[in-house]
Amino acid sequence: MKKIEAIIQPFKLDEVKEALKGIGIDGMTILEVRGHGRQKGHKEVYRGQEYNVDLLPKVKIEMVVSSERSDEVVRTLASAARTGKIGDGKIFVYDVAEAIRIRNDDRGESAL
C-alpha cells in the first residue's frame, strides 16, 4: 500500500477530484494548508505599510491506495493539477505498513 500526498493549487481541487473519480478512486482527505516552495509570495500594502506574504494558501490531498495503482493515481493527479506555472505543487509517495477499517476491523487493502 502507498500513501500519496499531493500539495496543489486550491483552484485545481475540483479538477483533480473529478479525474481521480474517473479512475475509480473514491476516498481521500483534503486539508487547507499554507506554504511555499520555490514560488515567491506577493506584496500587500495597507495605508502605506508593506507586508510580504510568502505563505500562500494550498490544498493538500492525502490518500492511501494499493501499490499497483500508485503510479496510475500519481499520473492522473499530476496531469489534472498541472498548469505548467511555478506554484503547481508537489506529490510525495510513502509506503504504508497497515490500514484498518474502524467499523469492522478489516485489515490491509480490503480496508481501503
Partner: protein, 462 residues
C-alpha cells in the same frame, strides 16, 4: 407665504363694506392660518432633524464600529467595536446629567451652566437661541449624537492596547473637560468662537471641524504617543483582519454624514440642501484624490485607500459644508485626500508613533485643513446668516474679500489644538494613576476580546 398673499387667497372678490363687516372673523381666521403654517414648518423641520439625529448615531454604531473593527487584528475586533458602542450608552447618560447643559446652557464664553442639568426645562417648546422651529428635545438629542461620536473617533489611536476600564474613565473625563467646553465655545450662545452668537473671535464651524475632528484627532495623537506602540509595531504584521466590514462601515459613515452636516442647518431648509451637496461632492473628490495619490505612489489603488479617502474628505468638508459652493467643496475634499494620504503613509512612519487606525492622520489633519479652508471658501452666497446691526449680510471668507477670516479660522483651530493637547495629557496622567492605561503584555498578546471581555468575535466551529 407672506401675510399679504394669505390675504389675497382668503379675501373673496368682495366689496369694502363686506370686508369691514367680516374683519374680526377674518382676523381670527388669519391667526389660525398663521399658526397652521408655523406648525407645518415645525413638522417638516422636526421630521428632518429626527432623521438626522438617527443618521448621526448610525455613524458611531454600526458605522465607526465596523470601520475600526475591520482594521484591527482578529483578536481585537470586539474590543474595538465596544469602544464605539459603549459610548452610545455612557455619553448619553452623561449628556442627560450635565452634558447638554454644559454645552448649551447659559451664555458663558467658555462653558455653559447648569440651567438644563438633568434635562430640566428641555421639552417640546423650542430653544429659540438655537433652533426656533423644532422642539428643544430634538435639538438636544441631535447634539447628543455628536458628543457620542467624537470620543469614539479617538479610539482609533489607542486601539488594541488600552484597558477597558481606563478607556471608560478616559472618555468620561475627556467629554467633560474637552468636548463640552469646545462645543460651547463654537456653538453655544456667547461662546468665544461663535461667529453667529456674539463670539469675540468669530469662527465658522458648520458641523464640527474644530469641535469634533480637531479635538478628537489631536487627542488621538496625544494618546498614541503617551500609550506607546503596540507590541511588535512596526515589524510584526498588523494587517486589517476584515476590510469587508471596514468597507461597510465607511459607506455607512458616508451616508450618516448627511445627517451630520446637512442636519447642522437645524431645519429642512435650502441651507440643509446646500450642505448635503457640499458634503457629497467633497467626499467624492477626496476619494479620487487619495486613490490617485496612492496609484501614482505605490502602483495600485486599494479599497482601503478609497474608503480612507472618503472619510478624510467628509472630515475636511464638515466645518465648511454650510458655507461653500459645490466646486470649492470638491477642492477642499481633494486637498484633504492628498494631505491625509501623505500624512498616513509618509509622515507618520517618519515620526514612528503608533496611531493604530490613523485617527490623527485623518481626523486631526483633515479637520485642521478643513477649518482653515473654510476661511478661504466660505461665502455669503450660500449662507447669509451673518448680519451687522443694520441687518446687512456680511462677507464670510477670503472669496468674499474677508481675508481676516482665514486668521480667525487658524486661531479657532489653534484653540482646539491647545485644549485637546492639554486636556488629554492631564486626563491620561490621572487615568494612568487611578486604573493604569495599558493592558499587560500577556493580555495584549492574547487580544482584547478574550482578555477584556471573555469572548471571541469569530467562532467558526460552533
Amino acid at each position: 407665504m407672506t401675510v399679504k398673499t394669505l390675504f389675497a387667497l382668503l379675501l373673496p372678490a368682495s366689496s369694502a363694506a363686506l370686508f369691514a363687516q367680516t374683519t374680526p372673523d377674518l382676523q381670527s381666521r388669519l391667526t389660525a392660518v398663521e399658526a397652521a403654517a408655523k406648525s407645518a414648518q415645525s413638522a417638516g423641520d422636526n421630521a428632518w432633524m429626527l432623521v438626522s439625529a438617527a443618521l448621526v448615531l448610525m455613524m458611531t454604531g454600526p458605522g465607526l464600529a465596523l470601520f475600526y473593527g475591520g482594521l484591527v487584528r482578529r483578536k481585537n475586533v470586539l474590543g474595538t467595536m465596544m469602544h464605539s458602542f459603549i459610548l452610545m450608552a455612557v455619553v448619553t447618560v452623561l449628556w442627560a446629567l450635565v452634558g447638554y447643559s454644559l454645552a448649551f446652557g447659559g451664555s458663558g464664553h467658555v462653558i455653559g451652566n447648569f440651567q438644563f442639568a438633568f434635562l430640566n426645562g428641555v421639552g417640546s417648546a423650542p430653544n429659540t437661541d438655537y433652533a426656533p422651529t423644532i422642539p428643544q428635545t430634538t435639538f438636544m438629542v441631535y447634539q447628543l449624537m455628536f458628543a457620542i461620536i467624537t470620543p469614539a473617533l479617538i479610539s482609533g489611536a489607542f486601539a488594541e492596547r488600552m484597558k477597558f476600564s481606563a478607556m471608560l474613565l478616559f472618555t468620561v473625563l475627556w467629554t467633560l473637560v474637552v468636548y463640552f467646553p469646545m462645543a460651547h465655545m463654537v456653538w453655544g450662545k456667547g461662546g468665544l468662537l461663535n461667529a453667529f452668537g456674539g463670539g469675540e473671535i468669530p469662527c465658522f464651524d458648520f458641523a464640527g471641524g474644530t469641535v469634533v475632528h480637531i479635538t478628537s484627532g489631536v487627542s488621538a495623537l496625544v494618546c498614541a504617543i503617551y500609550l506607546g506602540k503596540r507590541l511588535g509595531y512596526p515589524h510584526a504584521p498588523m494587517k486589517p483582519h476584515n476590510l469587508v466590514i471596514s468597507f461597510i462601515g465607511a459607506c455607512l459613515l458616508w451616508v450618516g454624514w448627511f445627517g451630520f452636516n446637512a442636519g447642522s442647518a437645524l431645519a429642512a431648509s435650502g441651507l440643509a440642501s446646500s450642505a448635503f451637496a457640499a458634503t457629497h461632492f467633497g467626499a467624492a473628490a477626496a476619494t479620487l484624490a487619495w486613490l490617485a495619490a496612492e496609484w501614482i505612489h505605490s502602483g495600485k489603488p486599494s479599497v482601503l485607500g478609497g474608503i480612507s479617502g472618503c472619510v478624510a474628505g467628509l472630515v475636511a468638508i464638515t466645518p465648511a459644508s454650510g458655507f461653500v459652493k459645490p466646486l470649492p467643496a470638491m477642492a477642499i475634499g481633494a486637498a484633504a485626500g492628498i494631505v491625509c494620504y501623505l500624512m498616513v503613509t509618509r509622515i507618520k512612519p517618519m515620526f514612528g508613533y503608533d496611531d493604530a487606525l490613523d485617527a490623527f492622520g485623518v481626523h486631526g489633519m483633515g479637520g485642521t485643513l478643513g477649518a482653515i479652508l473654510t476661511g478661504v471658501f466660505a461665502t455669503s452666497a450660500i449662507n447669509d446668516g451673518l448680519k451687522d446691526a443694520a441687518g446687512k449680510v456680511q462677507p464670510l471668507g477670503l472669496v468674499d474679500g474677508n481675508a481676516r477670516q482665514v486668521l480667525n479660522q487658524i486661531i479657532g483651530a489653534g484653540i482646539s489644538w491647545v485644549l485637546a493637547v492639554v486636556g488629554t495629557l492631564v486626563i491620561l496622567k490621572v487615568v494612568d494613576m487611578v486604573v493604569g492605561l495599558r493592558v499587560s503584555r500577556e493580555e495584549e498578546v492574547q487580544g482584547l476580546d478574550t482578555s477584556m471581555h471573555n469572548e471571541e468575535g469569530y467562532i467558526f466551529e460552533s
